[in-house]
Each structure stands twice: as C-alpha cells, then as structure tokens.
C-alpha cells in the first residue's frame, strides 16, 4: 500500500475497461484522472453535465445505465459542480428492488441532500418499506440512509421500526439500528429520551461489533452527564480487560493490537467516568495499568492507545503509579524522532501538567525544540502547552514568543486566537503595567483589527487608573511611558483603527501631562493621524477630541493657545464633515478655545477620566422648571413610547419642530439656536448654581433633555452649559445614547463612553482582573527572582511556591517542615526591622515555600545573614528603595546572584517597606538558582553533540528560563559557564 502503483499503470489498467462499465464512464474517469489543472477538470465536468442532462432526458433508461449516470453525477458534485438537476433520479433509484441499485441510490441521495431537503419526504416512505424488508442488506442500506437523511421532524416516522430492529437477529442490523438511534439522539434528544436504556442493553450484546458501536452513543451521553452511568464502570472495565486480553475475534486485531479502536473509546469513557471521582477511579487503576504494560510501543496504534491512557490518567483521580507510567511514555514520545509522536507527547504533557507540574521540567529541551520547530502544527501545540503552564514568572518569555509568532503568520483565524491568548495571559499575569502596555501595543500593532474592542477599552482604563494604588508617581511614570511609546509608534503606516483610538485617547489625556512634549507637538501628531486615516471616522473623532483636550489643558494652565495651521484646517474640514459626530466635535473644539481658563478648567479638568460621574437620571433639578411651565399651561411630557400615532403631540416640543424621524428635518430645526451659546456661557460659567441658569434655552427642549443630561456630569456647571449648547443641535435621544456623542468632549465622558462600550459586565470583569493583577504585581518580584525558568528551573520549591500563590489551599506535604525554617527567616528580618509590613502574612506565605531549599543549615544561615544585611541597608536609605542600594548590590556582587531581584522597579518602588523581606527572598532565589542552572548545562552537554547547537540551546535556555527580562543578564554568565 505504501507503494501504490503510479498513475500511468493505473490508466493502462483502466483502459482495458473490464469493470462492466460503459466506455463513456471509462472515458470520463480517465479524462478526469489525466486533467492537469483545475480549469481543465472544470471543463470536463461542465461538458459532462451537458452530456448527462441529455442522457437523462432520454426515455427508458436501463437501470444499469442509470446507476452509472448517478455515479457520474456524484463525480460532478464531488468536483464542485451543481448536480441538482438530477437529484430526483437518485431519489427514484432508491425505490428499485435490486439491492445494488437501491444502495447506490441511497448513497447518491445521502451525498447530494441535506436532511432538510424537500425531496427527503419522497424517500421516507421507501425507507419505511425497506426497514421492514426480509433482506437484511436492504435493511442495512435503509438504516445507513436513516442516519444521514432523517431530521427531527421525520424521526417519528421511522422510530418504532428502528427500535424494533435493535433486536434483529443479524448483528449488522443491530449495530446500524443502534447508530440510527444515536443519530436521533444527536438530532433531537427529547424524541428518544425514553429509549436511552437500549444503549445500556446493547452494551452487553454478544457481537463485539454491536458492543463497539454502542460505545459511541454511550460516550456522548456520558460526556453530557456521567453520573447516571457510574454503575457501568464495572462493565466498561471488564470489557476493556477482555479486549486487552484478546478475548475478541482475531478479525478485530489491528497490527497485532486487540481491537484498538474499541480500547481507545473505552478509555475515553473511563476518563469521563472517573473525573473527580476517587471511588470510580480506583476501579480503573488496574486495567489502565495493565494496558500501559501490555501496549506495544513500537507501533503507531500502540502509541495511540498509550496516549489515550495518558489522557485517561490525567482525567481520573491521580494515581502515583499510573502517573509514573504516563510520565515514562511522555518522555519516550518527546524523545522520539517522529514529529507525530512528539506532537502527541506535547499534548499529553499539557494534560498531565495540571496534575504533576514538575514533569515539564524534565522535558524543557524537548519542549523548546518543539517550539523552535519549523512545523506549525508542532509549534502551535507547544504554545498550547506554554499557555497552560504560564505563570507570572514566565509570562514575559511566553507572551513574547507568542507575539513573535503571531507577527509572522498570515492565518487570521489562528492570529485572532493567539492574540486573544496573549491578551488573556498578559491581563492575568502581567509582571508590571509597563510591560503590559508594551505587550498590548505589540498585540494591537500586529493584530489590532482582530482583537476584541473591549481589550482596547481595558487598556485605556488601565492607563487612566494606573496601578490602582495611591502611588501617583508610578502612575504618571506609566502614563509618560505610554505616551512615549505611542509617539514612537504613531508614525508607522497602517496601524489598526482600534489601536489608533487608544493612542489618540492617551495622547489627548496625558500627552502634555508631564511637560515633556509641547502641546503643538502632540496636536501636530494628532493632526497627522487624522489626516493619514481620513476615511476612518472613529479615529478622526478620537483625534479631534484629543486635540481639544490638549488645548483645554493648555488654556486652563494659563498658557496661550496657538492653533497649528494644519489643526485649523482639520477643524474646518471636520466642521463641514458628513458625520454629525465629527461636526459636533469640531464645533465643540472651537467653542472651548474661545473660553477663559476658569470655564475650561471646569469643563475639562485634567486627568479626571477616572472620576465617577453621578448621573441624575430623573433630572430632578428640572422639576421646578417643569412645574412652573405646567402651571403656565404647558402640556405635560409624555414619553415617546406612549405617544405613538399621536402626530399632533409634536407641537408641544416647539412650534418649529416636526415629529420627524429623519435626520434632515432635525438638523434644520436645531440649527437656529447656535448663536446665543457663547453669550449665555459666560454668565453661567461664573455661577455654580445648577437650576436657575439654563431656563431660557431649555424651554423647548424638555422632552429631549432627559437622555442627554443623563450622561452629563451633575456637578459641573461648565459642563451643563456646554451640554446646553449641544442640545440645541443634537438633542435627539438616539444621538446622546451613542458613545461618540456622549463625549461632550470632557474627559469624563470619554471614559464613560468607553465603559458603556465595554458593557457593564465587561467592566466588572476587567476590574476583577485588575485586582488580581495587582496582587500579582505585589508577589511578582520575588517570584521573578525565584523563577529561574519557564519551567521553574528544576526546583520543586519554586513550583510549589507558585501554586501556593495561586491556590493557597493546595497544601503540600513538604510545606510543614520548611515553614519552620522560613519562619525563622521572617522573624529575623522582622525583628531587626521593627516595623513589620502590614501585609506580612501575604509575603510570609511565599517565603514558606521559597525557603524550602534553605533546609541546608549553612544556606539557611547565609539567608539570614543576607536578609539582615538587606535590612541594614534598608535602614540606611530610609525610604527603603532597594533599587538604589548600591551596597546591597555590592554585597551580592561576588556571588552569582539573580541581580534583577533587588532592582526590579515595581516592587521596590511600591513596597518600599517590604524591602527587607524582598531581599530575603532574592537571597533565597539566588540559592535556588544554583541547582537548576547547573542542571541545564549538564543536560545540554549530554544532549547536544554539536557544540554550536548546544550553544544555541544554552542561550535559549537562558533566555527562556533563567532570567526573563533580566536587567543584567551578564550576571548569569558565571553561573552558566
């Protein structure tokens, strides 16, 4: 088989034409076979369609001929052309008495028709008849058709007969009847819910074929709910045992494995039944262990079963012995030269890693090889594994890798997928906000159009809210770095729209905040963006609003604003734009620029995007006014929903307005009152009173006031004034509810708009993720110090520590002993410090685990010493900003330490108080590192025959593992030799 004959010989054989087929058919097949291009093939098929149409219109076609025509029609459809003109002939052929013709008819029908095709109704009757046939082959043919053609509406027509056939004397019929029932279950589970016990019964069928087929529906049922089938575990186990002991007929053997496909299905079922169920799992251990032992690991099919065993072992309640066997198999897979086996190995590893995380460490190099492999399939599978083992210590390396890969592929489907994975990992594990922003930038830059817009909103929110701590300097650093990076990126061609929106928003909000860039520089850049993406209205809207913010901040800072000429022309262009939203923004900008500093200050307070906006939905501040108006004889407001069909009601909105839903009419109606705005603005601005001011302008606007003011800031009079102007022109509810126009160009609005876009659920979710991130940011630095590698080096303690962080409950048996040791460390440092940090408990937990290797008394002592030293130096520097502690560095200088620990910016700057503890950790980490790194190098030595290879690998291991994002990678050189 591996050496099938070449096409030349095949053709020679075909041309003899011995198969009782007509010359026409042989010629067709030959010409299709010889076609050298798709175009040629299409020509042949189109010609064939014409021929067939002619032939089929002839009267009295012999049945044999008709069968051949049908096959030719199958060819036509298979090669991508429509053969619907002849479907009816296929339907007719199912009525034939000859078995072969009937079956060919059924085959053609199942290939041609979907189960909701109109012609099906013509077949149901035939199927019913055939199901009653004495010839079991006819029954089988009909059951095949049932599986393909019967939909939920036609199930009742054949169901009783199918159920009857479950007890048929021929095993082939019983098997197909089971599958027909399975099909009904897939189509409409309610129609057959009372018949599900049949599957249980058939499991005990004498015929192994029927039993094997029954496993399919049972697998589906157990997937949905395993509980009702727990009693079958014993049966499944005993069947599997018998299969493995070769009790089944020889004909089921495949490559000397007994019924491997049945074994695999049984293992899948057991995996489901034993999930999270210790009692159930215990019944399976023996048989799974037997299969592990018996399986022939030299054949593909043996390995397929072994892989399924691993899947089973990783799903059921863990058993150390089975895990050991699984680990052995995995390492054999990963060491194999076959890509297929390595693929299976990676997949198995990612399944097992949940249960025993440490096994990944043994296979670091194999995993890295797979990651480096040019084969996309293997690479993606490896990313899947990395995704599962990501934690904050290795997130940088992993996400960087993912992004690199994302950049170089074209497959949008996978690009979207991996981009969302990157975002997910970054949000979950980001070691620092700065890194998070950089990562998001990359994702946006290269896959911006594929990521969910919520991600952009989250990013803006993060930049606005910062760490969520009270440390303003860190926040402003974050923003400056964001601004800086965006100014670097902004000039690049063809950035995705979503990303540009983020850039514009951030530049508008924070572009001039640190005084590094002038307003004209930033606005110039924003103008460039608006110009370069002139057909993207959303980007233009973001840009013009950002420009307005910049100017507003300038004005309120008391500086004179010189509008750039390009900016001027942009505003002019936009105020004549087709988009009303753009016009609105342009006019607002012009209006704001004309105001004095105090007004602008209150319209557009700087850095206020995170302020909460109180919304007075009832517009209670207007009650007084409404009451007065009604007293004067005005009609009360009727909500729009209640005045349908009452056209004349519109009069109360104002005599010059029509109740019209078209934009055109509305525009004209609102154009007039524009002029008075500036006049009103000034007096109002000086007063902070809300209610009395806008009365005249509201007089005709009450009905529309509601939605617009609902997004307005209650507290600010300037805002309200502004809004007032807005209403004159844009009072229509629909406008105000859309995010673009909620941006009454205040910063608050924009964020509000953002959160509206993101939907409230998303918001809360985002907040959650921020919260969790915050805690992670706190833990992160010492983790970073500890985490030597992607795989957590080979140090078990490190692994434990990370799991302890994520799942506190997971208490390890080893934890008890080390905890004493670590306690002493903590006590020591605390004792000298005399001011325990408030969240000491949080930190002591990682310490507990991290200090496990300190069991060695000498090292323990060393740790104590070092932490004391750290404390001392902390005291020296008062602020405790370890990153500025040269003496700590010098203390460590003669040792191969993971230097980045004490100089990692975020921890130290945010947790200055904890510096002593931190350095304690760093110390522990340093000791930890010795082991894994040495091991790396030995592994490499033993593995890499080629010195260049091993060097490369060495570099990679270092990059992947030892020191992610290290600020001073040189420190590791001595360690790694």
């Amino acid at each position: 088989m591996e050496q099938l004959k070449t096409i030349g010989r095949e053709l020679a054989m075909g041309s003899q034409g011995g198969f009782g087929q007509s010359k026409e058919f042989l010629d067709l097949v030959k010409s299709i076979g010889e076609a050298r291009s798709k175009a040629e093939e299409d020509r042949i098929v189109l010609h064939e369609i014409e021929t067939l149409k002619k032939r089929l219109s002839e009267p009295d076609i012999p049945k044999r001929k008709m069968k051949e025509y049908l096959i030719r029609l199958v060819y036509v459809e298979m090669l991508g052309h429509d053969a619907s003109f002849a479907y009816i002939h296929a339907v007719k052929m199912t009525h034939d008495d000859n078995l072969l013709l009937k079956r060919t008819g059924y085959l053609a029908v199942t290939l041609f028709l979907s189960d909701d095709h109109d012609l099906i109704i013509l077949i149901v009757n035939t199927i019913q008849k055939d199901l009653r046939s004495d010839n079991y082959l006819v029954v089988c043919a009909a059951l095949n058709a049932v599986c393909k053609l019967i939909n939920d509406e036609t199930i009742p027509a054949v169901l009783p007969q199918v159920v009857e056939l479950l007890g048929h004397s021929k095993d082939a019929v019983r098997k197909k009847a089971i599958m027909a029932l399975h099909r009904f279950y897939q189509k409409s589970s309610s129609a057959v819910s009372h018949l599900l016990t049949n599957f249980r019964k058939r499991l005990c069928d004498n015929d192994p074929g029927v039993m094997g087929a029954t496993l399919c529906p049972l697998f589906d049922l157990i997937t949905i709910d395993a509980n009702p089938y727990k009693d079958l575990i014993v049966s499944f186990v005993s069947i599997l045992k018998q299969v493995a002991e070769r009790r089944l007929p020889k004909s089921y053997d495949y490559h000397s494995m007994p019924a491997p496909f049945i074994q695999i299905r049984l293992l899948k079922i057991l995996a489901l039944l034993g999930r999270d169920d210790k009692q159930a799992s215990e019944k399976m251990y023996t048989v799974v262990g037997d299969i592990f032992r018996k399986c022939d690991s030299s054949s593909n099919i043996g390995n397929a079963i072994l892989y399924e065993c691993i899947c089973c072992v990783s799903s059921i309640f863990p058993n150390p012995k089975l895990l050991e066997s699984a680990t052995e198999v995995i390492s054999r897979f990963l060491k194999s030269d076959s890509h297929n086996l390595r693929y299976m190995g990676i997949d198995a590893l990612s399944r097992l890693i949940k249960i025993s995380p440490e096994i990944a460490e043994q296979h670091q190099l194999a995993v890295i090889d797979c990651l480096e492999d040019p084969d996309d399939t293997l690479k993606r599978k490896t990313f899947e594994l990395l995704y599962k083992m990501t934690k904050s210590s290795n997130v940088e390396v992993i996400v960087d890798r993912m992004i690199d890969y994302m950049i170089c592929i074209n497959d949008n489907h996978y690009k979207t997928y991996i981009a969302s994975r990157c975002v997910e990992l970054a949000e979950q594990f980001a070691p620092s906000n700065h890194w998070f922003i950089q990562t998001m930038n990359k994702v946006f830059e290269h896959a911006g159009d594929l990521v969910n817009v919520k991600v952009a909103h989250n990013l803006m929110r993060l930049i606005a809210e910062g760490f969520g701590e009270d440390d303003d300097t860190a926040d402003s650093q974050l923003r400056s770095s964001a601004v800086e990076s965006y100014l670097g990126i902004i000039g690049e061609p063809k950035l995705p729209s979503v990303f540009l929106q983020v850039i514009c928003w951030v530049l508008g909000e924070y572009g001039t905040a640190d005084g590094k860039y002038s307003a004209s520089y930033i606005t110039g850049k924003l103008c460039d963006v608006a110009e370069a993406y002139s057909n993207d209205e959303t980007v233009k809207a973001y840009a013009i609003t950002a420009i307005m913010k910049i100017y507003a901040f300038e004005i309120s800072a008391g500086r004179k604003v010189d509008m750039l000429p390009e900016c001027q022309s942009l505003v002019e262009e936009l105020s004549a734009a087709h988009s009303t939203d753009l016009q609105q923004r342009a006019y607002e900008l012009q209006a704001v620029i004309g105001l004095d500093a105090r007004v602008v200050e209150s319209i557009m307070p700087s850095d206020a995007s995170c302020e909460d906006i109180e919304v007075d939905k009832d517009l209670s501040f207007l009650d007084n006014y409404v009451r007065l108006a009604i007293e004067k004889g005005a009609q009360p407001y009727i909500p729009e929903s209640e005045r349908s069909g009452m056209l004349n009601v519109s009069t109360f909105r104002g005599q010059d307005q029509h109740e019209a839903s078209t934009h055109g009419l509305r525009f004209e109606a609102y154009e007039l009152p524009k002029a008075p705005i500036p006049a009103k603005v000034v007096p109002i601005a000086s007063s902070t009173e809300l209610v009395p001011v806008p009365e005249p302008s509201y007089s005709r606007e009450i009905p529309q006031a509601a939605p617009v003011s609902s997004v307005s800031d209650v507290g600010s009079s300037g805002l309200k004034l502004h809004l007032d102007g807005v209403q004159k022109k844009w009072g229509r509810p629909t406008y105000s509810s859309t995010p673009p126009s909620t941006s009454n160009s205040t910063s608050q609005k924009t964020v509000n708009g953002v959160s509206q876009d993101g939907r409230s659920t998303a918001n809360s979710k985002a907040r959650d993720s921020y919260d969790s991130k915050r805690t992670q940011v706190e833990i992160n630095p010492e983790k970073q110090k500890l985490a030597a590698s992607l795989f957590g080096g080979s140090s078990k303690t490190e692994r434990k520590q990370s799991s302890a962080n994520h799942k506190v409950a997971k208490a390890s048996s080893q934890a008890a002993e080390p905890s004493q040791v670590s306690n002493t460390t903590v006590v020591a440092s605390v004792g000298t410090n005399l001011q325990p940090p408030p969240d000491l408990l949080d930190f002591s937990e990682p310490t507990v685990t991290t200090s496990a290797p300190l069991l060695d008394p000498f090292k323990q002592l060393e740790g104590l010493l070092d932490s004391n030293a750290a404390v001392a130096s902390t005291a020296n520097h008062g602020g405790g900003n370890a990153s500025k502690e040269p003496d700590i560095m010098s203390l460590y200088a003669d040792m191969p330490l993971s230097g980045h620990s004490s100089s990692t910016e975020n921890t130290i700057s945010t947790h200055g108080d904890d510096a002593n503890l931190m350095s304690g950790f760093s110390n522990a980490a340093r000791i930890d590192h010795g082991g894994p790194t040495v091991e790396h190098s030995t592994q490499q030595l033993s593995k890499g025959p080629n010195p260049k290879d091993s060097l490369e690998k060495d570099a990679l291991v270092r990059q992947m593992g030892v020191n992610p994002s290290s600020q001073n990678p040189n420190l590791f050189r001595d360690l790694l030799g």
Binding site: I7, I71, L111, C140, N340
Partner: protein, 143 residues
C-alpha cells in the same frame, strides 16, 4: 461527533472521494477542500501528519499519489485516526487487491460503501475487515 469528513485527494489536489458527516453546501465544501488540500500538500514527510484548520484538525496520510485526509474535532485521538486511515486502505486493499487511485475512481460507490460500514454519525463503528467487506461481497455475488 469525532470525524467530520473524509477526503481522498491526489497529489494534484483533485478530489477522488469526499464524504461529509455534517452537511456543508457545495460552495463550502469547495472552499474547505481547496484550503486544506493546499495546506496539506505543502507539507513535507518529516512534519506532523496533523494540521489545524479553522475548527478542524486534519489528519492526513499519503499513499503514493493519493492523500487521505480526515477532518476531526478537538477530542479525537490523532494517532488513532492516522491508523484508521491505514485500516481503510488495508480494507480496500483486501477487496481490490493492490488498491490504487484508479480502483477508487472506477469503484467510487464501493469505496463509499466501505466507509458507510466503517463510519456512522462521524464515529468509527466497525474495524473488522471481514465485517466491513461482507455486505459488499454479498452484493457483488447477487448482482
């Protein structure tokens, strides 16, 4: 569901057999076949026999001029599917004797009948060659 479709395609990318276990329109089939065949034909011998495509995983195996492609969903054991392909080829071989591309082309319906015995509702239901071939041999005799 397991198996979503089974394709046989020659090395020029021409379809020789197509069986879908979920209904796709003609256009969808055409597009899908084009995409996967392009993907699979571009791969070399050393690479994995598995390719991800949209929501499918394609398991493929080459026999001389003919590629066997099986589209499965995520829960399927790829190695087992790879061996399933071989079982199919062995079965056809037993029936045709030294099976080749043209055997399948001239006896398209028989190849389909074999598949009908082996796979139903996207599940592998029969793996015993004698059971698979019995009805086909009976039909041959009777006709």
């Amino acid at each position: 569901m397991g198996i979503r479709f089974i394709l046989m395609v020659n090395k020029q990318g021409q379809t020789r057999l197509a069986q879908y276990y979920e209904y796709l329109t003609l256009e969808e089939r055409r597009a899908l076949e084009g995409e996967i065949v392009r993907k699979c034909l571009a791969r070399n011998e050393q690479q994995c026999s598995f390719v991800e495509h949209r929501n499918y995983k394609i398991v493929y195996r080459r026999y001389a001029s003919l590629f066997f492609l099986v589209g499965v969903d995520n829960e399927e054991n790829e190695l087992a599917i790879l061996e399933f392909i071989h079982l199919l080829v062995e079965t056809m071989d037993r029936h045709f004797g030294n099976v080749c591309e043209l055997d399948i082309m001239f006896h398209l319906e028989k190849a389909h009948f074999m598949l009908e015995e082996m796979v139903m509702n996207g599940c592998i239901v029969e793996t015993s060659k004698s059971n698979i071939l019995a009805p086909i041999q009976l039909m041959d005799k009777s006709s």
